[in-house]
Symmetry: C2
Subunit: 222 residues, 2 copies
DNA sequence: ACGTGTGAAGTCTTTCACAGCG
DNA sequence: CGCTGTGAAAGACTTCACACGT
């Protein structure tokens, strides 16, 4: 068990998976050692930030050398508890839910979708890979029984709050929320929102409508 | 055209779509006016933050009353350029790309997927709704010709950088990146990354592996 | 009395810059 | 000599708290 201080900023924790991703890639090139500068390049961050972030957890680097790729990756994986297998419940078996259930990327990283629930009678009983969609009314009991802590919410906006309440009551502590609405949860539950439309809507702020007119092969440098 | 100062923090811009979402919901209840406090409740923010955020764009509120829901929504939509229709290119017609292409939520908000490209010969020519998957080699020219500024990247990690380079050269200024890798772009291009696995990986930091053992209906309040 | 808009204060995060180790 | 780890400074963002308009 790591004896890290319990005061690490959330922003830092959010960046660790990005570092992890980059380290896996670097490891694949057989490179043994990586400097904060190289990692910064690979992650779109800065060398100072990477050194500061890693220093929260202790000295992983060697002066003049950098960080041992394999060792750093192992450390980050331990910090993030990625050596566990995390069983996950998925709520919502609409097109998004189905895409999530079929996507191999979660299981590959230890997030195994164990159960899928839906409210809609037409979807209950449906098979997705080796899972059968169950009635959402059975959710609370099964989640509690199986000690599942992680949920992926893929229901329409209108249903999200009620499901989130039920999940929290059933003991879930981490929710990946695909519903385009804000959900209220107790303090000991963490939510990460994914809203691609909202993301695009904030990107268009930086686009001037007039830019849309700038057609053709014009090479004006703004 | 709004004469807002050009110094508005990115975090603020990221929150505007959330306010917009909440306002649409409130508008549906026929409520005419909303206070910073109510909006805070609805968005999981705080009243002070909402007042501060909105104050960057001028005084939308009335003392003692709050904000006119309809007027505030219209203002935010104008700030974010949401009254435009934004044609979008989608790169990657794998399962994620297909899900994106079929998802109605983008078009509903003015982001119309105009073209889909893929590298894989097996996918080129495939129909998705009313679109036909085209060869990615035709992408640059078509994007430029049609003045498309917004792209959704749904290719494997290994292909993302090359595609991003081509998109930037073709004039794209906003990229929604679903590829689980960091992409490097020129300063005048904005990227928003969506990586659900990375999101889960940062959530599990807050979960103690021992918690997974806490099964049954135990009501310990930790 | 209610609720906005905003200086000022407080907190959090990033960046600088360098001592010190390998 | 190269590169980490980290005080200290700078900068960004949030929150407080209240004057003021309605």
């Amino acid at each position: 068990m790591l004896d890290a201080p319990n005061n690490i900023p959330d922003v830092v924790i959010k960046r660790l998976p990005i570092y992890s991703r980059a380290l896996v890639q670097i490891l694949a090139t057989r490179q043994r050692t990586v400097s904060s500068n190289e990692l910064a390049m690979a992650t779109g961050s800065t060398a100072a930030q990477i050194r500061r972030d890693l220093s929260y957890f202790g000295g992983f680097g060697k002066q003049g050398k950098g960080y041992d790729v394999e060792r750093l990756l192992a450390a980050i994986r331990e910090i993030l508890n990625l050596n566990e297998q995390w069983p996950v419940v998925l709520i919502g078996a609409g097109s998004l839910g189905q895409a999530v259930a079929r996507y191999g990327g979660f299981a590959e990283q230890g997030f195994v979708v164990r159960r899928v629930f839906d409210h809609n009678v037409d979807r209950i009983g449906m098979r997705i890979n080796d899972l059968v969609v169950q009635d959402v009314r059975e959710m609370a009991e099964l989640v509690r029984q199986e000690g599942i802590l992680v949920a992926i919410l893929a229901v329409p906006a209108g249903a999200a709050q009620k499901v989130a309440d039920d999940l929290a009551k059933a003991g879930v502590k981490a929710i990946l929320n695909y519903a385009p609405s804000t959900i209220q949860v107790p303090d000991d539950v963490r939510v990460h929102d994914i809203d691609p439309v909202a993301a695009l809507q904030s990107l268009t702020y930086y686009l001037t409508p007039s830019e849309a007119q700038a057609r053709g092969v014009s090479h004006r440098v703004s």
